[in-house]
Symmetry: C2
Subunit: 510 residues, 2 copies
């Protein structure tokens, strides 16, 4: 039987490409954390050169030649029959390399470099525009990026909508047709639940989160929780950036960032836990397969399931705070004395329409995504123009959440994604929410006394389970296949909806 | 007449190569500042891939073809006659590109990658070995690196000694034969001067430098001096690293590092000024020529002249402290009250044989270099084996400075250079010392009332002069030619020796 050893001429080349991509990621990390402002234009060029090189190498004739002797170009499946001439890892590897190769092959290298350069520049302009609260400052760059991504969809090809071409980049197999019913179901049950909460006699006072909290201590507490989760600081770092993110250069160097506000205790806290969930995934990938799809994360939806599982299912649970609240109280003695764990638990689970997606509660969060899903679909299909965005954004906020942003910074400019061309990325956040509950329910079935462990501050067993069930497989299975292997079922909004209905039904005494 | 416009097909390619090199420098900077320990092996591979790519692109057939239509392969001069068919910048550019190309062409790309990988790894092991004070830990890596550099000398070719091949890398045109007389002259006048100082009745008390100084405030003061020097923080950063260094990715992103010890005030202070001098050079290069030799620094000797000019001629001068000492006193009020500027000036100019080169006074510094110059020459020529280094080091320290290190960390392990393969680099430090005095003497002739300006804290005129005379020219002229343009004469130990004889004659009342 043919094994990965047969594929070594291919994987050696992939490893080199991955190292170029890792270098490019280091440059991006630096851009978001430490780069002096003046270095931005040069940085955009450096990243563009690296991405151009990585692209050229991926679509090079020798990779094409290697692939074409093994893969059926139409399907991406291992070419020889019977199929079991190849072992399963090899078949998966070929399928996924073919996917990357055939997509890359549709894009000219010059175009890849242009996209890279323009996105890098636009991201920097976005950060300034957000700080200055001026959408107009960002508009020309957004126009450029949007037009490039529309062009990219044309290069990639699609059925039904050019937006489908972009969705598939982030979540293999994802389409508008598959996502729309999910959002419809979510809306159908979330909106009434939200109304019942608003009308509930229970009023949660979350003002405790907006007292003054020393920023250094907030970071120290974030670091403490990350360590408890099993995030390895020998193979990682925690830094500050405008928008929290996780990046990986290799499983031995996976970095997370956060932000800290003196008067928003939940911001640093939950972004640390959230990014820590991403970080554990990347630290849990199999080093032996680094550089090949088997050492790469499977999709953004699955990636987000890891961050949301830790942030919400764990980090916003009673069990978690049974252990960690006394520690937090000790850290912020003056602010939290006399506030019992129940009041704190309610405060961090307060449901309230708000402007900022990443600060949103578990319920309204998906409405933020729905809004973006609709807008970016229209942008890519050309039904909406970039200059119409602020008004459209505010109108949809009013419609879905009943509130109207008073500035672009807390409206259309809040997210970094469109600035770096990530149209089609947002829906994976909702997929992540749904997966996170499905995975966590399964973990509770398989790990005996999981909630008791969490309540004792012991998080490593859960982490190990996730590593065994999800992280270490890389792209061995498709996202859907992986979900079925882990949970026995495919993605569905029901577990998530049942979870929030139960949790918030109790909190708000519905 | 042919101009740089003619060379655009070439410079476009060089620009791409420079961007790869810049990316590689970002990765090295990160390795020395923020990279988690676990990421080291992966980092070495990433840098090796980038350096391999940059090398392959430099020696590619299309660059060779472009060059060979313009350059006489034997001399590197513009091929067509009469020579003035090319303007001066074009001739310089061709000469320097030819120099880089023909040297690179002698090295196989695989070899370049191996050197890069091994040096990156060895540098990390060196840092550990130094921390653990164990030369044996570093020895295997040193052996590997040394044998690679000896191999490199063979590839490059040389007359007289393989060490000459390596010297030329850092200081074009430099040879043992040219350096030996310089060191001999230095030794002939420095050793007696040192003896007279030791025998002088003047005893300087520098214990004030070893009181307790808050590290954050030390860094703030360093930042203040850097700003006064004209170092632009919009295009730069100051970070911490084990060994202070300067690195540049583009004139808009030039970073310096320092280190801070609570009980060694001079360490952070003078490394900030020193690296700031390097930083001003790199920030002062002409952006329009970025990526070509005309936008690159001319040699390490000239580079070091900039750091030493600021560190010594300015930073250890009475004039400088007339302005900055009151500021320092204000910063460290408790420690420095009652210490007048004369006592402080004497303390920072205390001459005393010491173990650590970078902390050495202006006089003994060159003896540290002489020791390294002799040892590395013998290492490269195979007359000395790596395992003999600690004993040899200590023996020479005894001989030249009269003291014996009590540990490898303060002996043979103190410098990073050999770990990253930089044999032949140290002599440029002494060249820098000599140039620095020659340039500063010239600046005093050309800038009216320079010392008064410095004494008023006004450093920008000096910086402008250096930019105009040196920085902006890049590699337009050879180091020697540049020195003649600036000072009317070539390199010589005399101005340096006269400077130290006068300065220390006065301090020690000889």
């Amino acid at each position: 039987m043919k094994t990965l050893a047969t594929l070594e001429p291919l994987t050696t080349r992939l490893l080199e490409i991955q190292r170029i991509n890792s270098a490019s990621s280091v440059l991006s990390w630096d851009q978001e954390t430490y780069m002096p402002a003046g270095g931005g234009a040069a940085r955009a060029e450096q990243i563009a050169v690296l991405q151009g090189l990585a692209h050229q190498k991926l679509v090079s004739p020798d990779i094409e030649q290697l692939l074409s002797q093994w893969v059926d170009p139409a399907t991406g499946q291992a070419a020889e029959q019977p199929r079991d001439l190849w072992d399963e890892p090899s078949r998966s590897l070929l399928r996924e390399v073919w996917r990357d190769f055939s997509r890359a092959k549709k894009l000219p290298s010059d175009f890849v470099m242009t996209v890279s350069r323009e996105c890098s520049l636009a991201q920097q302009v976005w950060a300034e525009a957000k700080e200055q609260n001026t959408f107009a400052r960002f508009l020309p760059n957004l126009r450029t990026v949007l037009s490039l991504k529309r062009q990219e969809a044309q290069y990639l090809g699609y059925t039904d909508s050019p937006y489908n071409a972009l969705l598939d980049v982030y979540e293999p197999g994802s389409t508008i047709a598959a996502l729309q019913p999910v959002f419809t179901q979510l809306k159908a049950r979330l909106v009434p639940l939200l109304r019942r909460i608003t009308e509930s006699h229970v009023r949660i006072d979350d003002s405790i989160l907006r007292h003054s909290y020393d920023q250094t201590r907030q970071l120290e507490f974030g670091r403490l929780v990350l360590t408890a989760m099993g995030y390895d600081f020998e193979r990682g770092r925690l830094d500050l950036s405008a928008h929290p993110f996780t990046t990986s250069f290799h499983p031995t160097d996976v970095r997370v960032t956060t932000r800290v506000y003196e008067r928003e205790l939940q911001s640093c806290l939950f972004s640390c836990i959230h990014e820590g969930g991403h970080g554990l995934y990347d630290q849990g990938l199999d080093q032996r397969h680094f550089g090949t799809p088997l050492g790469d994360s499977v999709s953004l939806g699955i990636h987000e399931s890891q961050s949301r599982l830790w942030e919400n299912c764990v980090g916003r649970s009673r069990a978690f705070w049974r252990f960690f609240y006394p520690v937090l109280q000790q850290t912020f003695h003056n602010q939290l004395q006399g506030v019992d764990v129940e009041r704190f638990y309610a405060a961090i689970n307060c449901v309230k329409p708000s402007f900022i997606r990443v600060e949103a509660d578990e319920l309204t969060y998906n409405l933020h995504i729905m809004l973006r899903f609709e807008i970016e679909q229209d942008l890519i299909e050309g039904k909406v123009q970039p200059e119409d965005l602020p008004a459209l954004w505010n109108q949809k906020m009013k419609e879905y959440l009943g509130i109207t942003p008073t500035s672009d910074a807390e409206g259309v400019l809040q997210d970094v994604h469109w600035s770096f061309g990530a149209f089609g990325y947002f829906p994976t956040y909702t997929l992540g929410n749904l997966y996170s509950v499905q995975f966590f329910e399964q973990a509770k079935l398989e790990i005996s006394r999981l909630e008791e462990s969490i309540a004792a501050g012991q998080l490593l067993e859960l982490r190990r389970w996730l590593e065994q069930k999800i992280h270490r497989w890389g792209r061995m299975f498709t996202p859907d296949h992986l979900a079925r292997r882990v949970t026995g079922t495919t993605i569905s909004p029901d577990p998530f909806l049942s979870y929030v209905e139960k949790k918030y039904g109790e909190i708000y005494q519905l």
